[in-house]
Symmetry: D2
Subunit: 138 residues, 4 copies
């Protein structure tokens, strides 16, 4: 069963561009995070509620391939899906595309662990775990 | 011959921290970039001069592993070295450590290509290529 | 004749919040800039086109009053209008409100001068000058 | 009695510059904040300790005048002093200068109120109040 892909569309902000006139690569970290935010909102359990229950989803690994630069006022789409779900960790994968042409600007993966406010590693809440198909669980 | 490692030390800024009270992971992208900036300054050909000659060093890939969080006012050290040098591309590797204890907070690799202002892929300038030991060149 | 007010609505990003759990005040600078971007797009001469003609609108002064904090995933609206237009300078005013309740979160003013790529002060292009009612021109 | 001025020096980061090749004005907010951080460290009561006692210093107003742009790798100095101290609020003033020439790049004022973690307005802690000369207190 293929994963559910959630898309979110943004307009590149001026403050996100650099002396080359393109999006500075640090902003892709924020774009991916907003991809995850929209994913959680559309699946019905926003990350703000997740944190309100006393948990944080910490980023343990980021891998981004930049294929084509984005520019100020360009509409970009972040496509986000869960690629791995374990009891204490999970992974997201992403493509960032030009909204008009669908051309891929970047691909990325992020890995996460769940911690409590006290910093202890915890299990991913069941409601989030259910977002991944059981047959891919381990 | 081992690569030359250049270190740069920063104090974590308040604006770099997030609701978990730790450095938001987007800032590591900037820390790595400052590691590269300091590397080029100490090797004698600052990146501002590099750009002034009409070239840009574009980031084509970023891979970061976050091991331990950093906090506001913590002193952190970015250790930067060149791990690969080709005619049209190069890679840096990094450790980000707690300056006091030497404990590793993150490890990272970035890959780069050289482009002209017009966006054409170009050879890495010879002065930068010489920073990497010839026997590792290809 | 009252000025034309253009509104743009954003969802607060996680990366924009700080250890207090509220939007770090540096992000209001970006929100105001996006207010101006949307203003220019809706009036029919986007800032990306403005820059393509060889001009920049430099920020010479910023004044922000923070009234109430904004939080992650909150919908905020930036209301933007031109409050002053001179041949070589112009001012914008803003309110940032909670989209749901209309409550004011911040008010702001920014002043700008127009420069060429070479850094020379220039006249504001006529197309932008026409956005302000002539009777308020000077 | 003149106020005590504390200086902190930074090198402009690449990620802080924009398509004009100058520091994007949002970064001055961070520079001022680092001016306050260094002020508190040098006066002996760092802001990290201040927050650890359960208080936050909220920014209620920012006013910045941009006089001359700063560029990548430029050394800049933030000179910070307390300009007003009340029981429940305080103000800082700043100049941002080119470290080499002393030329003023920006001047700024920020106003602050003290709040508890619960969001209640509180008195500025006595240790901070003592940083301002009594004859200017009110």
């Amino acid at each position: 069963m293929p994963p559910i892909v959630i898309s979110t569309t943004l307009i590149v902000r001026y403050a996100e561009t650099d002396p080359m006139g393109i999006v500075h690569h640090k902003n892709y970290i924020t774009y991916l995070e907003e991809g995850r935010s929209e994913y959680a909102r559309q699946r019905g359990f926003p990350y703000s509620q997740f944190e309100a229950t006393g948990y944080f989803l910490l980023v343990s690994e980021v891998h981004i391939r930049h294929i084509k630069p984005a520019r100020y006022e360009q509409s970009i789409t972040i496509n986000t899906w869960i690629s791995e779900m374990k009891s204490r960790g999970m992974s997201f994968e992403y493509t960032v595309t030009d909204t008009q042409s669908g051309e891929i600007l970047a691909t990325a993966q992020t890995k996460h662990i769940c911690i409590t406010k006290a910093g202890q590693i915890a299990k991913i809440p069941q409601v989030w775990r259910d977002w991944h198909t059981p047959d891919e669980d381990n």
